[in-house]
Subunit: 229 residues, 2 copies
């Protein structure tokens, strides 16, 4: 199931990344540092970007496509920790090793930068250090939200998920889902059947429209917000 057609990233950048010192003073949002200092790498659908327990030597930023970070529990179930869309930074670990695995959901391009390089800059430039902290703090808030999501009912979880995706996509009320039902289920702590049934139910109650399985139109956002609890 996991990475069925996965292409192991054999071309992982061992070549050092040159920090462009001047870039970090331009006042760009925090995540831009990685893009400015890094190398853009392509990953094919389902390719592993890094694995749990591998050394966390790089930081990543999605340029295009989508990425999932996940953990496989001892009983074989998979819990997806986050979906990363263009602009999102990931692979930002505290210790020396990744605590999650990361895979490309779709073909995608990812900016990669040596953690050392960024840290070296951060050691000298307090503004960069502050931005690194900021990224960690944002991630913390996001995970706290995820905790609140997981104690809701199935309907509420799906509704919250759709609203979240709609907000991030920001192209109005239509969402083009990069991920499969299984991905959604593993993110929401539900089964694919429950996700599917819930979407069908939401469609029947005119809250959404599902022209294709990957495309969802939010018809009645306030109804979803009400479920959002």
């Amino acid at each position: 199931m996991l990475t069925p057609t996965a292409v192991r990233s054999a071309s992982f950048p061992r070549n050092a990344v040159q920090p462009h010192r001047k870039a970090v003073h331009t006042g760009h949002p925090a995540a831009d540092i990685i893009e400015l200092m890094g190398t853009v790498m392509p990953f094919t659908r389902n390719a592993e970007i890094y694995g749990e327990n591998e050394p966390a030597d790089y930081l990543y930023k999605v340029i295009s496509g989508a990425v999932r970070t996940y953990k496989v529990l001892v009983d074989g179930r998979r819990q997806i920790g986050a979906f990363h869309l263009p602009g999102d930074v990931f692979g930002f670990e505290t210790g020396d090793e990744h605590t999650f695995s990361a895979e490309a959901i779709t073909d995608c391009r990812v900016a990669v930068v040596k953690r050392n390089a960024v840290m070296a800059v951060a050691a000298r430039d307090t503004e960069v250090a502050r931005q690194m902290w900021e990224i960690t703090a944002c991630e913390l808030r996001r995970v706290q939200e995820h905790v609140l999501l997981l104690v809701k009912s199935a309907q509420e979880r799906v509704a919250t998920f759709l609203l979240e995706m709609a907000k991030r996509a920001a192209n109005g009320a239509a969402v083009e889902l990069a991920m499969s039902r299984q991905d959604i289920a593993d993110y929401l702590g539900l089964t694919i059947e429950t996700v599917s049934r819930t979407l069908s139910h939401l469609e029947k109650t005119a809250a959404i429209e599902v022209p294709t399985s990957r495309r969802i139109v939010l018809r009645n956002q306030s109804a979803l917000n009400r479920l959002n609890s």
Copy 2:
């Protein structure tokens, strides 16, 4: 139900806290800064330490007793984000406002320090800044663990909770619980009845012993670990 006998912390420290500059260079672990720079305040059982959406002007560290941070959902349910025991830092927010509320579970003493004061030090001292970041990162890992907890079965959640408490108490296989069944339930995303039943079941299967409702002896830690999934 919430804070039934709560004593609003009328004596919240508006008096400025004097930073002792020299303390921060002693190489103590990160959390010590707050203790060194701060003022120790007592809180009575169920007293509110701060509320959601209040300005996050202070950082806190538990000296003695126990603290819960929580959020009340729109449907009235309460989700506890964390239990803080002696040595734990809390109230560490990213924005200007607290995203959770904090209450004393038991009578407790808490070191309090002005956020500004710490931040001012951190701006000059990169080591302090690094420690602040470290605390955020630790919190991030803890919340990520909480996500993994919430997708498990009731048995697994309770078992995991007991093992976590045993590890933190670190007085062997016996746990003295500071919190009520309701607190535990709200932390685990279960009902009190389910928590109670699960504990009874674990006792029947000889995994634990419950001499008093607040005291739990882990008889068969490996059995719990197996449930821990």
